[in-house]
Symmetry: C3
Subunit: 300 residues, 3 copies
């Protein structure tokens, strides 16, 4: 599988595995070790976490597997996130889910992640959501401390619009190395709001969440889902894909922004579908026909 | 009261007094001197004007008070604005209120302001509104001349979106030192359009107009006003405020962009409310609960 | 006529002639030579093409006229465009009109344009539309090659929003010299989206297409057309114009962004109307009254 140079000393697999549903899969640690090894055999070496996934449980499950087979750590890249606080037994005082991008919270969150993941370092830490109460100076202080302590190698963001990205970057003495955003033929927002343009401008490869539009593409009878599904099926037969999932991954992989789709399945067969898609080739016209189906109107 | 460093040699009080209704208060010059002194005693040293306030009358009323007690001038910072022309006896030929950001108009406007305010210099001059017919090169020429003549110490803008701010800044050889914008829990536009992100990026403190949403928060029965009011009351009791006005000021003061709310009341008791609010502390969660009430939907 | 310095060694006439309907005019090559000479006599020396105009026929018609009188070439500036592929006999395999900004297509397109136009060089090549599948690195490679081969002197874009403009510019080692956009009192989009602000910021003169709003202003009974037409007629008598077309051109010419309207008529009398408009003067207030009529609501 193609590898994407994210930073001077960091490469990601172009397909990334996402573990936000890990707690639902009811794997034993042994089973998870096997699953991780199967991913690695497929060329997927990058794993995407967040402190909050599974109600603060997924990192810990993953960490137990790593502890069983510590030599895995050097073979993979771990991404995790901070900045959201869930109303939960962990934060019983909260009245709603909210954002916390204070230095104190970021440091605490990373310490928890390290402990849960049973590792000494995180390869890439993301701010999970843009926070209207964000203090970029304070985030920069937290990042600098985490970096100098060796706890986090690189930093990025998720779901940030261009103005938010630029505000945070202005206070950092190292470049943000990714923006994890939602993109699919059903979700074109970041083409329209300049997010992808900024990533192209700065030559930053985005991680892509919900590359299959949360699965709605397979079942929804909404007008747009029906329209996009029909086009994906048409392109599928043109490019020799086995399924419309493969076409959706191929559509992201074909884009010049070096998009890295996150596969969120615990079934290795579904993961293989994503990996298979890396062999597909799509023309500019085919790419745009899918884009047009997503927009719902012709190109001007 | 906390003071905000606006530029190398300019500090503002974090609470600013705004005089757009001065002509309605029917104060004598002696009463206005007393009022200004009471503000100064409360720590408020920055006074916000515009040429057009009160139909071109407020600056003159203020100037007469200053003339009674000239030693006040050195204790305060005067902000005024230019760039709007009102259909009025002053400009009888106009068919509508409009914008004029020509060099000629800016120079004339400042000369009038200096005369009306009975002062030799303005601390900060703002372009009142972004003008689609704006020639940034011409504004820069006017600013340079006013600066070299010693008539205006610093320059800024009001109600400018990021692209407008950047267009003007590109032609100036000194940084714009503020953007005076409307922000309140009822007016979140500048969070959404990147204005506040740009201010954070450049570390520029904004002046905030209509911090109490023009008073509608106290009386309006609109769905959003009712929702925000209920949340302000909830937070009020949590943080020990005396009123929801205090909470609204505290909400602005807590934000990391170093927001400087403008209090527009001629009643010293109302001004004290704003000053009292500087003692309140608000958590990130409380801040965001008010933000969410203003948006009308949960954080993603 | 005023000339606009577009780049170090390139000047355009402020009124540009556009040839997108040339194929409909049924001119002989001799008639077209006469028409071009009449334009030049009026001061219009810049001619705007695109590969696709007239279904890939207009460049060729123009080229035949140039071949009749080769000495015209040095007296004019030729603009053409690339990046759109029309479903047509030229590309019979296409399922829809689409965009192609690949290096291969750009090089092929320019070679075709040179052949059709019967010239050795194009003064200015534009990317016709922003392409969501655009690879700025690849466009830059194509531009560099075309420049070093002497086939294209300068490069620009058309219909690009600021984030798209910045993404492409980041990969070029020469500045984009224009953005050809649609602007008229009926089309204010680029004032609202920051496009014109960015052009002012970078001191780049835009070419303006559809300066007469595609002619709808003369006939449409839509609320906005009726409103704008009434205002244009009012201003027409105030500034001594002969027609509302002249007022529309004058409105663009008065703007500080150095707008260069494209006149698309094959009737020399209509072209003269545009040229006549360069003599008109419009005040800031008159300009804004037309803008307000276009917006449909007062200035804030």
């Amino acid at each position: 599988m193609k590898r994407i140079q994210i930073a001077e000393n960091l490469e990601f697999s172009q397909i990334i595995h996402g573990l936000w549903r890990l707690s639902e899969w009811k794997m034993t640690s042994e089973q998870l070790v096997t699953f991780i090894e199967e991913c690695i055999d497929l060329g997927i070496t990058t794993f995407d976490h967040a402190d909050i996934y599974g109600g603060y449980t997924c990192e810990e499950i993953f960490g137990k597997a790593l502890a069983l087979k510590p030599e895995l750590r050097e073979k993979i890249q771990i991404v995790t996130k901070c900045g959201i606080k869930l109303k939960s037994s962990k934060f019983p005082e909260l009245k709603m889910n909210h954002y916390d991008t204070s230095k104190e919270h970021i440091l605490m969150s990373v310490n928890n992640s390290l402990e849960n993941l049973q590792t000494d370092y995180i390869d890439l830490l993301l701010v999970h959501r843009p926070n209207p109460f964000m203090n970029p100076k304070e985030i920069a202080e937290a990042f600098n401390q985490l970096h100098s302590e060796g706890k986090v190698r690189y930093f990025g963001v998720s779901n940030f619009l261009p103005s938010q990205f630029n505000a945070l970057q202005a206070y950092l003495n190292m470049p943000l190395v990714t923006n994890q955003i939602e993109v699919s033929p059903m979700q074109l927002e970041h083409f329209e709001k300049g997010t992808i343009d900024l990533l192209l401008e700065k030559d930053i490869a985005p991680m892509i969440w919900s590359p299959l539009a949360g699965g709605q593409i397979f079942t929804s009878q909404s007008e747009s889902a029906v329209r996009v599904r029909a086009m994906l099926e048409e392109i599928s037969s043109e490019i020799g894909a086995n399924s419309i999932d493969e076409v959706m991954y191929a559509w992201l992989l074909a884009h010049p922004a070096k998009m890295m789709p996150i596969v969120g399945s615990g079934k290795i067969e579904r993961v293989k579908t994503a990996v298979e898609s890396t062999k597909l080739r799509m023309s500019a016209e085919q790419w745009l026909r899918i884009y047009v189906a997503g927009m719902g109107h012709n190109l001007p």
